[in-house]
Each structure stands twice: as structure tokens, then as C-alpha cells.
Symmetry: C2
Subunit: 209 residues, 2 copies
DNA sequence: CAACATTTTAATCATTTGATTAAATAACTT
DNA sequence: AAGTTATTTAATCAAATGATTAAAATGTTG
């Protein structure tokens, strides 16, 4: 027989192709990516891509699911902690996501795009349909906080705002950099500042009337 | 000779094709759009598209420039008013943009995408390189406001935040709707609320320390 | 209506692109 | 080393796609 293949054919080559696919797909999107681009980026022959992943779409799905999981799984850990306050969770989420986005600034636009292209296709692939938002620890914390502080605003607004303040600068980065003339380094420095600023802003929103 | 052609060949057909192109490009992006999709959407033959616009790219450029101008020109009017306060300008911008986005919810993702695909190509096409931000009325108003209220935060943050709070919900709409389960109608109602909320939130940010 | 210009179409090209195949090379096992 | 399996490649296919062409249909003018 053979030793162990079966599952892991050759982690090295396969991973190189995936990495190349990640780069190209994330930069150009599904429709904008040619299988040949991935071949070139990976340094391997075109047929290799199909040998390992059967089709462009299958490879894409793998990359996409990994991105989404990176996005979602980590958040669940924070959001469902029992002994972390609502405010502290926001601080953690902001800091955690900005760190991640500074390293992978193209992910948000890519993900938003492809979700937009086929909303239902992707939701099922990440296994989050099953969770009831109302059961999340953070939901209960919000309810308690809202009651105690007489906050009447729809929590969806707050959710949108937190996510918007974190993600939007990365999505709009080319426009922002062009309009303001700041460098990539300066941009990242601003993002670093936002780790502290966003929680303060969100707090200010909550107490504003 | 001929009557007046030269410039306006046939506004009706040409405009129908442009409208179809607008719809398809905005929904699927440049790479995701087939010239045949536009033909089908417009109801005309494929060759007509090339007859009127020579190529897919030329047609795309026209649509894109129109979108960007819709986005930018209107803002300039508001931003450069002499007799409107900073706070009032924010109210006007928010209200104006949300109205526009409720009608054209796909524009932001489309524009962000294509700018990302080729940042320099688009900037030149809208004729905004020439304007000096420091000379804008709103910039001076900001400087005065910041001094009077001892606001030290980089105004780029505030700019990003205002734009983020306005635009992000539309970019993230599929995710938001999926996660929260709200309908399109409820979503639009929330956007309507935001016209009043965002200025309040921005104000709260400015006075927060 | 005749002559001409404009508008629209069907048919066709040449590339691009996702995918397959068959064969060559490398790696591993005994 | 021989035999077997895994990996990689060059060559090729079929469908999709942007674009062109030549001709038909429609409209306009004198």
C-alpha cells in the first residue's frame, strides 16, 4: 500500500497553490481571477491547480470558507465570554480585528463582494445559521445595559456602527489614501490609534441622546 | 448632409443600453459582466452595444464616471457653502447620501471595488485632483471648531467615521440582513433613522475625550 | 417615391479561459 | 534496482467571450 497519502497528498505544493489562490482571489475577486493567474502566482503549471482542486470554484470555496472562518470564529470566542464586560468585549473585538486587518487589508472588500454576489451560497458554508443570536452572552449583556442606561436605540445600529468603524477604513483605503495623501505607514498608524478611539466613540454614542 | 446626428445619434436606444449597463455592471462588477448580459438586459442585439460604445471598457468607463460624479459633485456643493455650519453640513451630507443610497444601494460596493482594482485610473477621470483640501470652506470650519473645542483627534478619523457610518450599512447589507433577519423594508427604515442618529453620534464623538 | 443616411441584426472571428488527457519525471517501497 | 505510486508537465479541447462585418430594415430628405 502507501504510507499516509490518502488525505494529505503533499502539504507543501498544495499549500503553495492555496496561498497563491488566496493572494489572487483576494485581490481580483472570483470573476476577475483567471486560473492561469493562480498558476503563475504559484509558480506551478496550470494543470496542477485542477489536479489538486478539481476546479476553480472548488478552490475558491476553500479560500472563502477559510477567510470567513477567520472572520467569524474568533469573534464568537470573545462575544460569548461570561466574565467579560460589554465594554471590554468591544475593546477586544476592535483591537483583535484591526490587528487582523492591518495584516490582511484586502479581505473585507473581497468577502463583502462575494457575499453580495451570492448571499445564500456562503452563509451555509460557515456553519453559523444554527446559532440563535438571542442566546449569545453579549445579547443578554446588551439587554441589561440598555435597560440600566435607558438606551432605546436599536442594537442593530450599534452593531453596524462598531463593524463600520472597524472595517470601513480598510475597504475605503485606496480612496482615503488618495484623498488625504497619507502613506501606507501613516494609514496603519491611524488604524493603530483607532484601537483606542473606537471604544471611546462607541461609548459616547451609547450615552448620547 | 444630415440633420444633427454628429453628437446625439439616438438618445433613446443609447440611453437604454447605458441604463442596462448601469444595472448589470453595478450588480456584477466589470469582470463579472458579459457584454451579452448587457445586450440581454437592454433587449438589444449584442453588436449594438459595440456599435454605440466601441467596447465594453469604454461603456464601463462612462458608467463609472457618472457614478463617481454623482458621488462627488453633490458633496462639493454642500461642503463649500459659506453660510452653513459644520454641524449642519454633516446633517445635510448624511441625509443627502442616505437618500441616494436607499435608491442605489449597490453603488458603494461597485465603486469601492473598481477603485480598488485600479486606483489611479479612476481618480483622473473625475476631475478632483486639482482641488486643494485645505482651501475648502469646511476645512477652515473644522480648524476653527477644533481649536475652540480643543479637539485633538486627527480629522481624517472623523471623515472616515462619517463616511463609514453612512456607507457601510449598504455595503454590508446582505450580511446584516442575513444575520439579523430583517426585511428590506425594515432595513430602509433603519437607514431613515440614521439620518437623525449619525449627526448626533458624530457630535458625541467630537466632545468625547 | 427615389436616394441616402441611420439603426439594427445575424453570422462569424479570434482570443481567452476552465478543464482534461496522456505522458514524463520524481519519490517511495520492498 | 525494479516496481509501484505520487507528482508535474506539455499539449489540446470545448465553451465562453469581446469584437467585427456585411447586409437588412427603418427612417429622412429632396
Amino acid at each position: 500500500m502507501k504510507k499516509k497519502p490518502e488525505i494529505e497528498i503533499n502539504a507543501s505544493t498544495e499549500e503553495k497553490i492555496k496561498e497563491a489562490a488566496r493572494v489572487v482571489f483576494t485581490r481580483k475577486g472570483y470573476a476577475g481571477t483567471r486560473t492561469r493567474d493562480i498558476a503563475e502566482e504559484s509558480g506551478f503549471n496550470l494543470a496542477l491547480i485542477n489536479y489538486y482542486f478539481r476546479s476553480k470554484e472548488k478552490l475558491f470555496d476553500i479560500i472563502m470558507v477559510e477567510h470567513l472562518q477567520l472572520f467569524i470564529h474568533s469573534v464568537m470566542g470573545i462575544v460569548n465570554e461570561k466574565d467579560t464586560t460589554l465594554q471590554r468585549k468591544i475593546e477586544l473585538l476592535v483591537s483583535h480585528y484591526i490587528d487582523m486587518l492591518v495584516k490582511n487589508p484586502n479581505i473585507p472588500l473581497f468577502v463583502l463582494n462575494e457575499i453580495n454576489a451570492d448571499p445564500k451560497k456562503l452563509v451555509e458554508k460557515i456553519g453559523v445559521e444554527g446559532l440563535d443570536r438571542k442566546e449569545l452572552v453579549i445579547s443578554k449583556q446588551w439587554a441589561a445595559f440598555a435597560k440600566a442606561n435607558k438606551v432605546t436605540v436599536n442594537p442593530i445600529h450599534i452593531m453596524m456602527n462598531v463593524v463600520a468603524l472597524i472595517i470601513f477604513p480598510f475597504v475605503g483605503s485606496p480612496v482615503i489614501r488618495n484623498r488625504t495623501g497619507i502613506s501606507m505607514g501613516q494609514f496603519n498608524a491611524l488604524m493603530e490609534e483607532r484601537k483606542k478611539l473606537i471604544p471611546v466613540w462607541v461609548n459616547a454614542m451609547l450615552v448620547s441622546k
